[in-house]
């Protein structure tokens, strides 16, 4: 279990983390979601005792990280930067870390096999692809068989097979009753992996809830309508509380009316409708909604969230 209370980190003028309070419970995968620069990595470094908080506290299994007798056994972490000397082999890197806790060589071989690094373990890390580097970081995190696993952007640079592997790994670890804390700026990844979500933006917690609740709290139910007379039909549907968008030709996205009401209007006015689909609000939209004011580095062309989504599709 990880508990942060009023945790803050200020670098000179800039507040990276602004008094966050949250609890990461064991037995489930908790996603830590936020745009770049939102404070995810800083929070994780404070959990690991690498950065000292400006204010507040964070504990792992009831004690600050540095107080643990055998910290690698309590918590293992993959942190943002590749924390490996490029001139060393994966095996030497893991052996050096293992030596600090008297972890036997057998365990080093185990995590190498577990992460699929067996073939390259004796090679210099310099030549590793981004994906292999991530696997090595995960191997280091699991070395001490820790009760708490913290992974900062673990799927960055992984191939599709690696992404599925990480997804299964974190779910498996959580199913064993371990605490799994996973950061990402990719909402699609979170939607498939996390059970619980903590959303952070500009150093503040924006949401801390089960993933379904985050989606339902933000997204509005919409219906996609395809018709050969979109302009006329829009006018007929318009009313108070109704918003209509026309994302493409002959397509309307209607919110504020349910499909039955839309169908009745179509029937009354003899408008041809050839699709009527209720749309599930996605995590992506919920996330955009939550973070729209909190994005640290916005792209130059002022795309609306909807347009950005369309472009992504």
């Amino acid at each position: 279990m990880i508990q942060a209370v009023d945790l803050a980190k200020v670098y000179g003028e800039k507040t990276a983390v602004d008094g966050v309070t949250f609890t990461v419970e064991p037995g489930r995968v908790t996603g830590f979601l936020g745009p770049n620069g939102a404070g995810k990595s800083t929070t994780m470094r404070m959990i690991m005792g690498l950065d000292a908080p400006t204010r507040g506290t964070v504990t792992v299994n009831g004690a600050p990280y540095a107080r643990h007798n055998a910290p690698l056994r309590e918590i293992g972490a993959l942190l943002e930067a590749r924390a490996v000397h490029p001139g060393r082999s994966a095996y030497s890197h893991l052996s050096a870390l293992a030596a600090t806790h008297g972890i036997p060589a057998k365990r080093v071989h185990e995590v190498i096999e577990m992460t699929g690094l067996g073939a390259v373990a004796k090679k210099k890390v310099k030549g590793f692809s981004l994906g292999m580097g991530q696997r090595l970081g995960i191997a280091a995190a699991l070395l001490g068989d820790p009760q708490v696993v913290v992974l900062d952007e673990p799927v960055n640079g992984l191939d599709p097979e690696g992404v599925v592997w990480v997804r299964n790994l974190v779910k498996y670890l959580a199913s064993q009753g371990r605490t799994v804390f996973l950061s990402s700026h990719l909402m699609s990844e979170m939607a498939q992996t996390a059970d619980h979500l903590i959303v952070i933006g500009r150093g503040r917690i924006l949401a801390d809830a089960p993933i379904e609740d985050v989606i339902s709290s933000q997204g509005k139910a919409r219906t996609r309508v395809r018709t050969d007379r979109p302009e006329e039909f829009s006018r007929l549907l318009a009313g108070s509380g109704v918003t209509i968008q026309a994302p493409e030709h002959e397509v309307l996205e209607v919110s504020g009316l349910d499909p039955r009401q839309i169908a009745r209007t179509a029937l009354e006015h003899q408008v041809l409708v050839y699709e009527l689909t209720p749309l599930q609000a996605s995590l992506e939209e919920a996330y955009m909604q939550l973070t729209k004011d909190e994005v640290e580095y916005r792209s130059g062309d002022a795309q609306t969230p909807a347009a950005a989504q369309e472009a992504a599709r």
């Binding site: 470094r45 990280y65 030596a99 600090t100 577990m114």
Partner: protein, 292 residues
Amino acid sequence: MSTMETHPFRHATAPHHEFGRPNFLRVLNSERIKLLSLLSTRILLLCAVALLVGFAALQAWGIGQVTTTVRQGGQAGPRAEALDAASAVLHLPAGGVSFAQLIVGALAVLMISSEFTTGMSRATFAAVPKRWPVLTAKAVYAVVVGFVLTYVGAYIGGLVAQPILSNYNLHLDMASWDVQRFMLLNAVYVAAVALMGLSLGALLRNSAGAIVTLVALLFVLPIIFQLIPGDFFTEARKYLPTNAADAMFEAGTASNLQNAAYLEPWQGTLVLAAYVVVLLGAAYATLQQRDV
């Protein structure tokens, strides 16, 4: 990969009793693995030994040439050089130390600065959150490497120089206390330089910056202080690490540097020790306080 998919996390649980807590011996072992698993360490160590040996051989040849000229021509060479031949032979095994110290110093800088430049420090200090044992373990290896390498390199250099000197009817007795003392004092000095390099690496966290600072302290400042006229700089120059070390090297010799440009041997030793203590102390304080 197929086996991985069949039994993806076969080994995910290992018995807890196999694991211990970090203690100093374990950290020492971890740092040993780190030091020896880098090719750059081995290359730098080999270079330093080669430098010591090569320099001793070159000096043997040079001393022989000068002595021959003096003997043949009578008054050909400056008289002082002829008189100093014995003392030059004495100092010959450790003659390459002024250059070897830079390699050892750079290696010591890299021992800790590379942790920060590569991000390895995050893994290191997550494993050892108390932090100070890591710096202490590195300091142990810096001292061992600096001392042993200098002594062994100088010894081999002396052995290589012996047949060359014999050609010129000069004699180097490696077992003599004068030769041994000079080699041992040089080994102590290089160990001190290694500790200074390690401290600068920990303070600046930047390989190039720390190496340049070390070179400035050991090489550039003595020259600058000599060039600037004035009593202050003549006096201050005595307290620079290299000059303090030169004073220390005269410990126990009959012919002290009877020279106002140097401190007494015991003073030189204390000044050198002060550099190490102050820099290392600052390195410990910074390491405990600063974010990794």
